[in-house]
Structure formats: structure tokens, C-alpha cells
Amino acid sequence: QQMTVSGTVTDAADGMPLPGVTVAVKGTTTGTITTPDGNYTLSVENGQTLVFSFIGYKSQEVVATNTTINIALEEDVIGMEEVVVIGYGTTKKKDLTGSIQTVNADDFNQGAIASPQQLINGKVAGVQITDGGGAPGEGATIRIRGGSSLTASNDPLIIIDGVPLDGGDVGGMRNPLNVVNPNDIETFTVLKDASATAIYGSRASNGVILITTKKGSGAGMKIDYAGNVSVATKANELDILSANQYREVLTDKFPDNVGLMGDANTDWQKEVYRTAVSTDHNLAMSGMIADKMPYRASVGYNLANGILDESSMERTTASINVNPTFFDDHLRVNLSAKGMFVNNNFSNTGAVGAAISMDPTQMITGDMYEPYGGYFTWTRGDGTPNGNAPDNPRALIDQRVDKSKVNRFIGNAQFDYKFHFLPELRANLNIGMDMLESQDDPKEVMAGAAWDTDAYLRGGSYEKYKLKKENKLLDFYLQYTKNLDAIDSRFDVMGGYSWQHFWTENTSGSWFNLPNEDDDFVRDPENLTRNENYLVSFFGRLNYVLSDKYYLTFTLRNDGSSRFSEDNRWGLFPSVALAWNMKEESFLEASDVLSTLKMKLGYGVTGQQNIGSDYGYFGTYKSGQPTAQYVYYNNVTGSYDRVPLTTIRPNGYDENLKWEETTTYNVGLDYGFLNNRISGTLDVYLRETKDLLNQIPVPAGANLTNELVTNVGSLENKGFELSVNAIALEGSDYSWSIGANVAYNENEITKLTRVEDPNYLGVQTGGISGGTGNMVQIHQVGQPANSFFVYKQIYDTNGMPIEGLYEDVNGDGQFNESDLRVYKQSAPKVMLGLNTNFNYKNWDFSMAGRANLGQYVYNNMASDGGFYNRMQISGEYLNNLNKDVFNTGFNTAQYLSDYYVQNASFFRMDNITLGYDMSDLLNNNMKMRVYTSVNNVFVITDYEGIDPEVSGGIDNNIYPRPRTFLLGVNVTF
């Protein structure tokens, strides 16, 4: 039944009429907009729904039953009331004084995500996440604002639900972060500047990532299921010679060696890679028990198969969060437990390199190779395998089992008590533990495996290893919050104590299957190492807010570590931050365009103590292994009996070892326009690290080693980060948002030696494959860390490099190692992240991509594979060539040529997802979304290697990142 509806639309805040508001009839094309005085008139069917929408305001829907409908729209200031996790507590986003960025589950990257860090790659300005490669569940290098250290770890501190993970690799596991099922994660919060991180003191120099997992809420029981199936394919392969090209080139270049070739046409890369199908299932149950106890429990099962044949990760996770409250909400308890059970199959990543080295004219298997399990093998004249020759890639995979089993448990109990007699005072106790056990399951080289000469000669071998970690945590703090309305102020103070114990035990050894003459099976003797360290801390924070405009945060942490001597044990890490909410000032308050403007100034000192050794400051004596003994022969009696003696070695140490210290200055600006439809932040920072923990040569004779980790040198990172989030379009059944961020960082080593020495070259680093001990990078004063250190190639007039001709850079008439020079940096100068979401009715579409600019990669694949003499080695065996040889014509290896330092700037489309919400098709209690996505869609780059994204800047035999197609479904009921 037709009716005419009219009314006025006003601003809920001040009652002023709102012109230009869209009034639409839902599900139709009918609609109008309000007049300058906020009035509208519209003809509708009784019972139809009207939608009132206006940019910067929350939309409202009203069913048309009356003829007069007046509406007051509320401003929609996006995000500012959002609660953000910070160190030892939470705060509202609008009260933040530090540089903090949070990514919520809604904004996570989509698609085939096996490891948590992939959820936020490209989402946070200044955070670089580089996967170690394409292996399932692969670890990643995470760098926040460049790295503040040289030798010490540059990894950020990661804290999961209040439990800090200790740094360091976990044997038998590709990625220590895999303990969390990505589906259980609620938020990722990245603390970037020191005013935000200083509360974590000595471990915060490289930033802090806080991960919180999903918790139960609300009444009733909700069940979520998320599942997907994905197909991973090889995205790219290395350009090497095909069998026929190889025949042609070898016949041309080394006619004497053509007899070494076979008759086959084998594409070894094809033989080792596969198309891999993976599945992921997650089931979560959440709700409230007895009206008091919210809970969430989940189980996840992920079978991730890698494109390298046989490689896989099978992960089962279980987690439970229970958050009961007692005494009228005075006591809030948070119990959290996460378990992870992983079965890894590492396959044999040696096959990645072998597949590009192996002569493509050889057959894979043949009857005459029966002694080697049937696999083609390069042998010497007497039939023994030639240990220098490339290994048969298929044999590498088929004749090795390398599996591991990892169990990990992280649990904590957090008690937050609001005092009955003084509700402003809270006490918080957190007790947690992180336990891990990782071991072979099994790891062995089969009999007949010619690629491991020693094992081949003794019927194969096997290895046993076991890693155990037990880390314990106790935090306690008191927090007092008070509003002082009289002076329009509020403040809170917090003070606490933290105790952590890190304990690790490592056992390993390997054995042959056949004994030696003494009936001994030992290959590498069993070795056990055990380490521990303690960290004891006191910390405090003061927040003061005046008139909701001026904010002050002051934090202080005093850390004591067992890794340093009593004199240097305690480190004090202060920070102070000021924020000015300019939007609240009278001169901006009235602005309709500007909705947020806040300026933040931060200063803080953080530390670094992750130095690899727990006992570096005092002298220790280390017993040697049975294979590193000294042997006397008893010829006094003439019997020549062996008299082996286990040795004991005094180790070098630096009793003055202490914290590395980073001072950070940060200026930040939060801005928002049009009710924050467009918002973002701009940060400019300077970070100075002094007393760098640096492994440097000690004066010969001064200590019991030649190099020590000691505190010397300093470096600097400076840069800016800008992020923009915008809702470009929004209507009743569509919306389009765009997020972009850009980060620029300049890294410079400012000092490396105790004594100023302008002639000091620096510390060479960046070992490559090819030769032994060759290095192509350097840490040099005045240059970014890990700059390349190479010879300057000279080219001919056709642009071809002239083999062996390099500039005499120092002009002394001689060409030698003094002519090595710094050339380009390996870290990106500029990082960009881009993502966009588009929703239309039930459809959603998103894309996310990243770009790194100004980064260079040493193409080790080309330098070690692209010269003709590599084709045949002393007439013993053949190697395939990298096609780059056609660009250079090099006959001999030119490892130190800057030709191989190549621009590796890139743009990668990480992900494209298309989803459809099917909830409407189902009954009301059930929501369902199906989606499909592609990961690693394409890469735009000039770099000629297989992939420009290389952690550390040296491209060498990286497990190629696959392209993955996925089909998934999320169901909630």
C-alpha cells in the first residue's frame, strides 16, 4: 500500500539539519536526498525499509510505517574508541602516545596462510616480512624499521597473549611462530617506536609484536568452521640450459668432454617440483558457561604440501581461552592454553640446487646404477661416487628421509583484580610457560645414497636430535587510575616486576648403518648442550591526560640479565612521550573536514641482549668431542698403542659485555578527514644504536679467540612511515576501501671500532656459494649494514662485461683486493604496501600487494652457474649452466663482479580474493561465506633471478615460492 513519508534529518550531536543525506528504499532504485534544511519527501510501500546514509555518519534503517520519520544520524568517527593492546595493558586508540599499529582479524591477508606472519605482510608501514622461501610453514625474517643490530638478533620481540617467545631458531621446525594457528589470531599489534616498546626494555630494540588470540564473548554458543583446499604450483623456474642447448654448448666449448654426456633429455626442475594440494580445517566453539565464564575452544588441522616433492607440514593445533570473572567483575581471570603438534617432512632442499646443476642429458635412473639405488651417479674411475660432482636431485629426495615431530605448549593464567576498597587500583598477575620438544622422526640417509660418500661407503646413516625448551614467566603489576576532574585531568600509574627463565637442551648425534673396524657405528658423536638464562625486570608507566588534549606517557624499565657480569648486569631503559590532540583545540574543533589531528613526540631507550651466548662474560672451559681428541702413540714400550685424550679448551670471553642500547626519537601525526573516512598516520624517526653487540676481531693475543661478541660501534636508522586508509565509496549495498602505506628507511653504520681508524675497511660478511669462504658484503662505517663489497666491472662497447676486467678503484696501478668497493645496499630503501577491498551486496573482493624499491640482490645463482668452465670439471663430470652465461660470455667464475649485484626492486601482488556471502540463502542462524583466492599472483621486477625477494640479499638456492589457488568456506552457526 502506497504512502508518502517525509521528515527531517539532523546531526545527533548538535541537532542541526543535515543536507544531502541519501534516503533510499532498500532493494529498489527509488530514493531521494535531503534539502538544504534537511527535509525530504518520498513515496514508498508500507513496510518497505528506508536507508538513511551520509558520508561520515552511521547509516540507519527504518521500516516505513509512519508518514513522518525524523532521523538523527550519529557521527561515525572510525576507530578512535577502539581498544589497543600495549605492553602490560590496553589503551584506547585515541589515547595512544606511541607509534603503534594494529591489524585486526578483519584486515588480515587472505588465502593460503600457513604461518601467522603472512597475515600482516604489507599491512604495516615499516615492517618488512621476508619468507625464507616457499616451503610449507616456512619461517620469515621480520624487520621493523630496518635492523638496529649487526651481529645480535634483529628480530622483534614477539609476545603471544602476554607470553614473550624467546628468540632463536627451533631445530626441526621451520618457523617458531607456527605455534599459533592463524585462524585463532584476533589482532597483531606492532609497537614501533621506543615510547611504545621501552616497557619491554632490553629486548625491544627491534620492535615488539603483540599477538592476541580470539576469546569467547556473549551469550549462547557459536560454532565457527573455516576450511579451505588449495593448490600450489611452481610460479617460476630458473633459466638453465635444456638438454639440447646443453649438447650444443658443450660440443662447441668442450668437444673433448662430449663423451661424458648421456642420451636423455631430463628437465630436472620438473622432476623435483610438483603441484601440491593442501587442506586446512578449523573448528572453533565459543560462548558462555553458566553466564559467567566466556570461553573459546578451537582445533585446527592443516596439511600443507610443498611444491618440492615430499615436503610437507602437518599441523594440529588446539587452543582454549576461558575468561571468567568473579566478585562482581572485581577479579577477571584469563586462562589460555595453546598446543601445537607438527609433523614436518623437509624432503631434501639440496634438490633445489642439484636440479639446476645436474647435467640435463643424463637419465634419472638406469640399470647400470644399481649400486647407487638405480640413480644416475657421477663416479670416479673405480666406480666410487665422485663427491664433488652434482648430486642426482631425485636421489637426494628419494634416498633421504628427513622428518621431524614438534610439540609445543604455551599456557598462561592471568589474574586481574580490582581492589574492593579502592576500585581505582588493580593488581595483575600473569604466570606463563612455553614448552617445546622437537626431534627427528626419523632423519636418515638410505643405503646406496651416492650423494653422501661417507654414508654410501658405510651402508647409509641416520641422525638423532632432540631439542627441548622450557621457558617460564611471572609478571606482576599494580595499576592505579584516577580522574582529577577538578583540574580536568586523569592519570594512571603502573609498576611491576617480571621474572623469566629460559632453558634449552640440545642433543644430536649420527651413526652409520655399517660399523668400522672397531665395530663402531659413530658418524658424529652424540653431543649434548644445555643453556639457560634469566631475565629479571622492574617496570613502570605513568600516563597523564589533561583536558583530553595533552597526553604524557613516561615509562621506565630496569632489566637484569644473567648474560652479563654484575657490573653490567642492570640496564635502565626510560622513555617519554607527549601527545597533543590538536583537533580538540578551539581553532580546529569546528572544522568539518578535519576529524582527527594528533601530534606525538616520543623518545626512548631500548636494549638488545640476544647475543647468542649465555655465558659470554666469564671464562669457561669446554670439553671436546671424541672426534676432536689428540692422539699420542705409546712408542716408549714400542707397542705404538693409541693414547687418545679428550681435550679441554679455554674459551674466549669479554667480561665487559653489556647491553646494546638504541635511542629512538619519533615524531608522529595521526590524521583523519571527513569523519575519518580518510585517516592515517605519519611517523618520522631516528634510531641510534650504540655499544653495538658486534662480532669483531679482538687484538691477536689479547684473548682466547680471534673474534668476540663485544660492545663496539654504533649505527643509525632514520626514515618515515606514512599510512593512509580511505573509504573511497560507500553506499547502502556497496563499499570500497583502500589502504596504502609507504616506509622509507636509511641505515648507516656510524662507528665500528673502538679506536677511530679511517683505514678500517669493516667486517666482511655475506658468504656465497662458489669457492670456499668467498664473501660479497661488508659492514663499513658510513654505509648501510650488509652493503655489497665487490669489484667494479668494466664493459665493452656492446655492453657485455669484459671477463676479469675491473676498475683499479684506488688508482695504484695494481688490481687486487684493495679495489673492492661498497656498491649498493641489500635492504630496501622504500617499502610500499597496498590493499583494497570492494563489497557489493553479497560479494566481496580484495587485493593486497607490496613493493620494495632500492634493494639489490647478489645473483649467486648466476655467478655460480653462469660461466662456461663450470660445464666440465677436469674432465671428471658435467654441470648445467645458468643461461646468464649468454649475457656475459664468462669462461671462469667472476664471483666478486658487481655485475651480479642486481636491482631487485619489485612489486608483488600477494593476494587476490573473491568471496560471496551465502547467509541469505540459509536459515537465519547460520552465516556462510565461500571464497576463492590466489596467492603470489604475479611479480613485476627487472631482477633476472627466480625471485627478487631474498632475505639478506644473496640469492642462492631458495625454495621457490609457489603460486597458490584456494577455495575456502567460513561457516558460523
Partner: protein, 330 residues
Amino acid sequence: SEDDKLTYNPELATESNISLPGADGLVFTKDDADELITFEWSATDPGVSVQVDYVVELSTTNVFDVVTTLAETSETSVDIKVSGVNNALIALELDPGVETQVYLRVLAKINENVEDISSAFKEYTTTPYETIIDYPMIYVPGAYQGWSPGAENGRLYSYNFDNVYEGIIRITETAENNGEFKLTEGPSWDVNWGGTLTADGDNYTGTVGGGDNFKVTPGTYMFRVDLDANTITLTKTDYWGIIGEAIGGWGDADDVIMHYNGQRMYWEATADFVAGGWKFRKNSSWGGDLTGDSNGNLVGSGDNISCDTPGKYHVTFDLNNMTYTFEIVE
């Protein structure tokens, strides 16, 4: 695609210019042997900053198709003894005592993968002198060579000019005066010595003086005659021959025995060869025989040396340097 790519363009290079020696710079006599000749040139500028090494070359032609290297250096000058220059001329197979034209140039070596940059050549008139060292000699005439003082196969040399004479002589069996010989001061019988020898195993020691012929069991001996101490020592040693299908067959009697050239301290022979393989063997029997590689080195194992073109060849066999030569004579 880098803007700072450094390019080497040989067309933009400036070559060296030889300033020394001047036109008469290579005129010398044997008496000047130890004098120095200075060679000097301007630096080659390749247009890019690279290490440049120089090679000073002499040639008999101005197109330098036959060259010998005088010096290699990274400096822009070098001092070479006259004897060194003379050796180079001899190496160019110029005849001693004959005036001739030679050409000098300096090659700037940048890198083995780009062409050397040559200076303009300079032309000189020069006369090489004979270089073989005239060691003092005594002679060993004997039945084995027909009692011929001065014959090629009976000479001992004093390598240190110290009145001690050494050499290897193969004393073959003869029907008469088997194993007998004398020493003479010159290639005549004017001054001659005999003496007695005492056997010590296969070796002999004795004194020089008396008139009787020395007498030994025929064989090959290392001689050492000390005319100050008047002692003589003979140490049994090996003789060497050449054998093979290229030179009469592989039979046990087919060795062509070489004679020991004491002045040059190697064995040599000149003989007619046909196409085929051959090698060196000692004492006309197998064991310890040697063949040679294509670089002129003697080696213990490997293929026979091959003679591809029949003709008369000169063979030298140098055990001190483990080298050999095999060159057609006509």
C-alpha cells in the same frame, strides 16, 4: 641498466710511445755484456682506470710475426743487460756477427679478453754476438773413438772455470785396446796424460800423471778430472738412445745412441726419421725409458713421441731440465 656502468673502448685509448733507447741503442759488443740498456716509454692510457702491464717485444719484422719477449713489467721503463738483449736476438735465430734490422714495440696488456694496445714500433740496427759459454775443455781420446783428440764425443768441461773437468763419456768396446783412453790438454797430442785407475765396484778412482793409458771396463761414465789435485774419478752412469718405428724399429738392437754434449749438458743425436712413434730409452734396454709431451717435457708415461713428416731430425735430451727437442734439420 646502471648509469654508472664503466665501459672500456679501445678506440679511445692512447698507446705508449717509446722514448728509449734511441736509434743506436742496440749497438753493442760482447764486452758490453753486463752493461744495462734502458727501455722507456710513456704510459698507455686505456681511458679507464685499470691495471696495465707492459710487454717489451723484439721482432725481426715490423709486423711482429716472429717475436721474442724482452721484459714484462708494470712500470714504464725497464733496464736490461746487453746479454739479455743479445739472448733475445739469438732466440730470434739471428746469426751472430751478422748486422741486421730488428724492431721493438711495447704492448700494454689490459686483460686477456681484450686486445693488447701496441705502441708504434721502433727500428734498430744491431749485431748479435755468439753466446755459448766457452768453458775450458780437455779431451779424452781413446780406442772407443779412434784415438781422436778433439772429437765431439770425447770432451770434458770445467763449468766453474776451476780446473775441474766434468762430463759423460760412453766408452764402447773395441777389438784393440779395449777400454783404453788418455787425456789431452788440447785437440792434439801435444800435452797428454795417462795414469792408473783403481776399481771400486763399477766405479774408478785414480791419479793423473803417468804415461800409460787409462783402462776401464767399457761402459758409460761420469768423468771428473781435477787437474789441480791430479785426481780422476769415473762413476758408472747410463747412456741414452732413441728407439722406435720412426727410427729403425723397436728391436733391442735398434737404439740410435746419442752422444753427450758437455757444453750444453744434454744428450743429442741427428738422424733420419720416418713417420711413426719413438721414445728415449737408456742402456739399450727397457725400464726407465722416457717419452715426451707436446710441451717439450720428458715424461715417464704416455704416448710415444710421434714423427709425422719423414726427414732428418736433430734430437736433444736434457735430463737436467727434463726437456727434449725434436726438430727437422732439412
